[in-house]
């Protein structure tokens, strides 16, 4: 007998071992997320995929699906919480969309559009962060890093290189590069690596591609992130 749960009233079936997010992605239902990518081990850090399971809020990317669960996802209360989380991500970094090459292709921005964020609301930190342009083919702009660890996971689990890591704790957390100099140019990071193409923002950018696709013709310029998810094969 197949197992299933209800998500916003819709019956969704799942297999043993699947998370709520896995089952939702398979069923083509969008749950907002930034640190999750089905190709990698769930991280559960961005908290955008929070859903209400039988009355309790849980991250759907880490919570195993259970038979008979009653789950709320697309509610105004949860979306308000998600918007506040996205607003905090915006003020914690330096996300100047008009000067960012990722604008229009950025999942942070697309999620903010989806949640109808009109302003970052909170006081900006304007944290001092660096840009590492030492690599011949790739920029690393830490102003835009949201600590999702997708590059960490991709480099470690797919590329087998272990180039990135999060160092520090709490507000002091930051992305570091596995080289004595700390510079990306002193690693064997390659433009063909999965880690070079997994960043949800513009923190890792491939050089010499700037504005190849003009603003206005980019992934999320005309379609919402949930529509793009529905069209793509689970990213």
């Amino acid at each position: 007998m197949s197992k299933n749960f209800t998500l916003d009233g819709k019956v969704i079936s799942f297999k043993d071992g699947q998370t709520i997010m896995d089952a939702a992605l398979t069923a083509g239902v969008y749950i907002p997320h930034l640190c999750h990518n089905p190709k990698f081990i769930p991280h559960g850090s961005c908290k955008l995929c929070i859903v209400n399971v039988n009355g309790r809020n849980m991250t759907s990317c880490t919570m195993p699906a259970g038979n008979g669960m009653v789950i709320e996802n697309n509610t105004s209360a949860l979306n308000d919480d998600r918007k506040a989380l996205v607003q905090m991500l915006f003020v914690e970094g330096n996300h100047t969309c008009p000067s960012c090459e990722a604008s229009g292709n950025c999942k942070l921005q697309a999620t903010a559009y989806y949640l109808e964020m009109l302003s970052p609301h909170y006081t900006h930190f304007y944290p001092p962060r660096t840009v590492d342009a030492s690599h011949p083919d790739i920029f690393l702009d830490l102003n835009r890093c949201i600590l999702c660890e997708l590059c960490v996971r991709a480099s470690r689990d797919v590329d087998g290189k272990n180039i990135f890591k999060i160092s520090g704790r709490g507000i002091g957390s930051h992305l570091v590069v596995n080289a004595e100099s700390g510079k990306l140019g002193d690693t064997n990071f390659a433009v063909t690596d999965k880690a070079a193409r997994v960043c949800p923002t513009g923190a890792i950018l491939i050089k010499r591609r700037g504005y190849k696709t003009p603003i206005g013709h980019r992934i999320y310029d005309h379609k919402k992130i949930n529509e793009i998810q529905a069209e793509s094969d689970h990213e």
Binding site: P98, H124, P127
Partner: protein, 181 residues
């Protein structure tokens, strides 16, 4: 709002590029129906220097210097509804890229190290407003009632926003109108 009285509208550009104002002018012939409902008070279009009592104030640009603070506070004081228009007003935008560069280093780079006028010096005429340590979004200085994102918001977006606001509706932008770039 009574039918016979025109809505008073003021606009200003603080630390912005005037791109949002250009986009406002880009509503083209819709300026005629707009002017039937709206009377401009202080704006760069009228060149009125002081903001009178207004129904709507629209602010472009972030807060980069002391004069920006004064103008913004004047707008807040005299406008019933204050709107932050464009990326700079809402996040600091491109001018805020200076926020992690020490102000003194900035000045030296611009006025001392680069060749320019004879006898390079940092301008210090008392008429020049003093710069702030950072560029701030307007909502971190005064209360803002509505946000109109975009760099700049398109003419259609501004038109939709304004017509909603003037008609007394809560402004609602479609997905394609909501942009940060």
């Amino acid at each position: 709002m009574s039918e016979d009285r025109k809505i008073k509208l003021a606009t200003c550009s603080l630390a912005g590029c005037f791109g949002c104002h250009m986009s406002l002018l880009d509503i083209d012939e819709k300026l005629f129906p707009l002017l039937k409902k709206v009377e401009f008070d202080r704006t760069p279009f009228t060149d009125i220097k002081k903001c009178g009592s207004c129904d709507i104030g629209i602010v472009e640009g972030g807060v980069s210097n002391v004069e920006n603070v004064h103008v913004l506070k004047e707008f807040r004081k005299h406008c019933k509804v204050l709107v932050a228009m464009g990326a700079c007003a809402i996040t600091g935008g491109v001018p805020s890229l200076r926020n992690n560069i020490d102000l003194w280093d900035c000045f030296q780079e611009i006025y001392l190290y680069e060749g320019g006028l004879e006898g390079s010096q940092i301008p210090n005429d008392p008429e020049l407003p003093l710069p702030l340590d950072k560029v701030y979004p307007v909502y971190e200085v005064v209360k803002i009632d509505y946000f109109l994102p975009g760099c700049p918001p398109s003419a259609d977006t501004i038109w939709k926003f304004l017509t909603d606001l003037i008609a007394g509706r809560e402004p609602k932008l479609s997905y394609e109108m909501l942009h940060y770039d």
